[in-house]
Symmetry: C2
Subunit: 276 residues, 2 copies
């Protein structure tokens, strides 16, 4: 069964902490860690076309993993993306668009793949492009995913924090995921492993933000600008941490606006279950 046009919403995913797990098999490679999926995200519109085109917010865009997904299907679609969140700022947008594209191409071209197969295609495209390691599996799960074991469905395993909250965020620009992941990740991996132990022992949102803040310091990824904002939120009695990997701070509840920042606001994305 094929459809003329498919439209897929995929939530943004803000990673709080992670550790890198390499493998020659892109389905087995990935990351451990935890993050938040958000009601802000990407809406990916896919239709058949004579020539491939990809636009984000109406502007032509080049996103390597999306091109890999397209080549996996051997098609030339038109893909138009609308998004609430900035590119390259730690929202897992390349993963969201890659996953939305995989699901949309499956529908539009009537390919009859299972959902796990589509997640695997998008995850492998991200890993091979160096643009992400854990966003796709987290975005597919929804809620507050804990990535216990790295990799795509069939390889990795997930748990979650059974809570929800309003989330505020503010972005000051990009960090290159590919540059950081291709460097020495020793400090990141040690801090990430320690944070995962802590969140497994106490899987709550408050603990998630607390250990994420500690991770951003211990990993050396926290920039002076980010540090100032997080310290401000904490001084006002709030909880905030840095989005990995971007110049972005996220806070529980009204933590950023309470400190005088002009922050965007959304909710944690539900999976099938809605928690009030």
């Amino acid at each position: 069964m094929s459809a003329g046009v498919a439209r897929i919403f995929v939530p943004a995913h803000v990673t709080g902490f992670f550790s890198v797990h390499d493998s020659t098999d892109p389905l087995a490679a990935g990351s451990r860690g935890a993050g938040l999926t958000l009601t802000d995200g990407a809406t990916v519109r896919v239709e058949r076309a004579e020539r491939f085109s990809l636009a984000v917010g109406g502007q032509p865009a080049e996103i390597a993993p999306v091109e890999r997904v397209m080549r996996a299907f051997d098609v030339t679609p038109r893909i138009d993306v609308e998004t609430d969140v900035p590119i390259g700022a730690g929202f897992g947008l390349s993963g969201a668009i890659s996953l939305g594209a995989a699901i949309g191409l499956n529908r539009v071209y009537g390919r009859e793949r299972s959902e796990n197969e589509l997640v695997r295609i998008a995850h492998a495209a991200e890993v091979q492009s160096g643009t992400g390691l854990g966003d796709v599996v987290a975005q597919h799960r929804g809620g507050v995913p804990i990535r216990l074991e790295p990799g795509a469905p069939g390889e990795g395993t997930l748990d979650g924090i059974p809570e929800t909250a309003t989330i505020e965020y503010i972005s000051f620009g990009e960090l290159s995921t590919a540059d950081i992941l291709s460097g020495d990740t020793g400090a990141i991996d040690r801090a990430g492993a320690s944070a995962l132990d802590a969140i497994r022992a106490r899987p709550t949102l408050a603990e998630f933000v607390r250990v994420s803040r500690r991770f951003s310091r211990e990993s050396g990824l926290e920039t002076p600008e980010i540090r100032t904002v997080i310290d401000d939120v904490e001084a006002h009695g709030g909880q905030a941490a840095m989005a990995m990997l971007g110049q972005t701070v996220f806070a529980l509840g009204s933590g950023l606006s309470d400190s005088g920042y002009d922050a965007a606001r959304c909710e944690i994305a539900s999976g099938s279950i809605h928690i009030d």
Copy 2:
């Protein structure tokens, strides 16, 4: 962190076909099969109380797996459930209430369990009560779950059909899950295994309804009343099947109303990803 009151929505789950997998370990026991999660479901309100009470639609109710969940937490909550769907008619309502109760009790009593732990508690309560084998894990996943391997998180594995649709349903009454599961399930298990092979080869909604219809005949579970309704829908060019286990017919799109039936209507529940 504990809250005064928690309110959890859990989708209904209509199983199309299944096979039974016994185990002395309730976490490993369960079923293979596939079904639909729905935007209709149960909203479970949990608060602390001096004495345990459970009401569905304002009426006192006894639901064995919910009492098991409560005993797992060793608490005496007040639980009030509102639901769109009938009890005992193949919508997985005992599973939905058990899962909602587990998540709600965790919040209200500040127990800090992970989401997988809560799913395991609700799954085990259903298995031990004989009220369900696969609803809880399906409801936790959302979308159109395929239960590849039986059991709770850590034991079972799931895939899904990456499509959505409007669903109509009509119910004529109850079937006892416990009575059927405690009898000889040989015909059910053979028909269920064959249906799972078919859906793995072609994971689409149209194939799901087609093999579910075949399952209800081959398993011997299809009643004359159900048969008449499904035949009517098919005669009008639609697709319908029987909800396992209840005197309920579900149809894709407007299949039931097109055939003159006064059917309820809802959508397939999204996981985190919304497919238009």
